[in-house]
Amino acid sequence: MIRKASICEITILVVVICTSLLSSAVGVAEETASASTNAPTAVFPLTTKSPEALRLVQQALDLYLDQVEQAQAIDILRKAVRVDPDFAMGHEFLAQISLDSAEQVGEQEKAFATRNHATNSEQLVIEWYQDAADHKLISAIPKMNDVLNQYPHDKWVVWMTTWWLFNQSQFERASAIYERSGITDSPGLINNMGYNYAAMRQFDKAFAMMDKYVALLPNDSNPQDSYAEILRLAGRFNQSIEHYRASLVINPEFYSSQFGIADTYSLMGNQVQARKEYEVGFQKFTLPELQQILWKTREATTYVREGDYDGAEHAFQTIADYAHTKQNSQAEADTYRQMAMFEQNPKQALVYLGKAEAATQEGKNSLKTAISQELAQILRARVEVALKMGNKQMANSNLERLAAMAESCNDKLSELAYHGAAGEVLFSEHKYDEAISHLEEDNNNPFSLKLLAAAYQKIGYSAGAKRTNDTLTNLNDPTLEQALVVPAFRKCSDTPASCGGNTKSAALKR
């Protein structure tokens, strides 16, 4: 399992000062930092007036990084910023590792507001994250690089930069920073880099990282769970299951490994065994509501993989009803949207999308952002259904709504939904170059990848088509989107005649 964030064991330049001495102490810290710029010993400073706050932050970072205790680490960081409300980097750490989106936003604001109590280096980090939160990438990136250039061997800086770049899909850059850092003994960093190499499909390096991670924390379930997940991404399903089981032997309560086994069987095509494993998980563990819905959805997806659409409809409807009972509007909407995605009858698909949209309008117990993102996904699905029906007018009107939303809400997921939908409309109009520029933005979505490969083929960019085909063929992601696209795509690629085509490119047609 990749943690939401992980923090390496850091060496902290201790700057414990009285408020009245703040400015002079900051000056000393900055001088020390700049004097050691680029040296292997250059360490990122942390500024607080409270020794207790500093101790708590160190404890939190250690717990978070090396002991996989994210919840405890968050609690301790909360204490630290209560002890010193002006501890800017304390707020920043909390913003970065909190699991509560409202807290993430609030703590980022506090970090920004208190940054004048910190050194220039700390201010750069806080402003980099603030710019990124404000979608000002052109301003954020130079700040990140400047901090990195000052502290290229500091574990904390290496973690911050590689993790941020990973989330920006800048895998090559992240791995280059890690390799240059010379850091080889940080479990959290090793875990993250394992996923980074896996994303680059450099599985030899990813497995080497996992071997190290397991060796460093032999009594921890997470290394085995991560190893299993990366093996699954590589398509090595049997080995993946072995590692998930090893994780459960270490800690029988590590429930993500039980569901990891179920997901893996589903990807292997053994839906009966997958459902048995999901049920074991549901019987054995009391799950948080969202986790319950997530894995119930995965279980329901097994019916889609079998082509049993009645079974899928029943299973998804049960989830929608459950979400409705729990007054979780976003989950209810998302479930109806997914039902529309596998529904064979476009008119019925529109009925489901109507229910999904109605749920977003209720908006109960859901963050506004989540509802807005869901609505964007629904509009994208509406475009897709309209195109299936050959109704260009409906497709374009929904695309216009989606474009307006993406323009106004400044949200990455909504923008991706727009790009996916726009690419689809343009592809249907045979405007391949324009379609490509949109589809390339939505590169996590199997539907967009499939169209992108076809569009590359159409313009004669065969290297791009081959690379995209390879990515899609090797996508082992236990989602409904993967279930709807990848197995059929693989089948068509392997035996074009089975889907009515005579050539490989025929498999790309929608």
């Binding site: 990749i2 052109i138 490509i436 995209t468």
Partner: protein, 140 residues
């Protein structure tokens, strides 16, 4: 359980056109940029000589840039750059491109968006920055 958030390896790249901090040009049209890269435009409005700097034209990134800019095959682009050595400098890394641009008045370079430092200015193309929809130098 986090596999769904793992991004794919296919990622649209974005390239930034950079100039030294003293350069007052903040925007170029795509057509002007093509003229600069084909050595048909060799001076800035203030009269300074333009020097283009980029990474190895046979690298995958630069192939994409040259495909967008010059509409040439990789082989054609490589030959073109070799034939215009006096106007186009080749650097080993993005860092080297940035160092050259930041210290050479009149220089213009192309780097990966994520290499940007505070030592250079980003020049818009057709009024757009790299992150904006419809930006010219992005692709796969």
């Amino acid at each position: 359980m986090w596999a769904a958030i793992l991004p794919c390896a296919v990622q649209a790249k974005q390239f930034a056109i950079v100039a030294d901090k003293a350069n007052s040009t903040s925007n170029l049209t795509a057509a002007e940029l093509v003229k600069i890269f084909t050595a048909h435009k060799q001076n800035w409005p203030d009269g300074k000589t333009i020097t283009v700097v980029m990474r190895d034209p046979s690298s995958a990134d630069m192939q994409l840039v040259l495909r967008k800019l010059l509409n040439m095959t990789p082989e054609q682009a490589h030959a073109f750059v070799l034939a215009h050595r006096e106007a186009i400098m080749v650097a080993d890394t993005d860092d080297a491109v940035l160092r050259f641009v930041s210290t050479s008045p009149g220089a213009i370079g192309v780097v990966d968006l994520y290499s940007l430092t505070q030592d250079v200015n980003v020049v818009k193309i057709d009024g757009k920055l790299p992150v904006e929809q419809g930006y010219f130098l992005r692709g796969n």
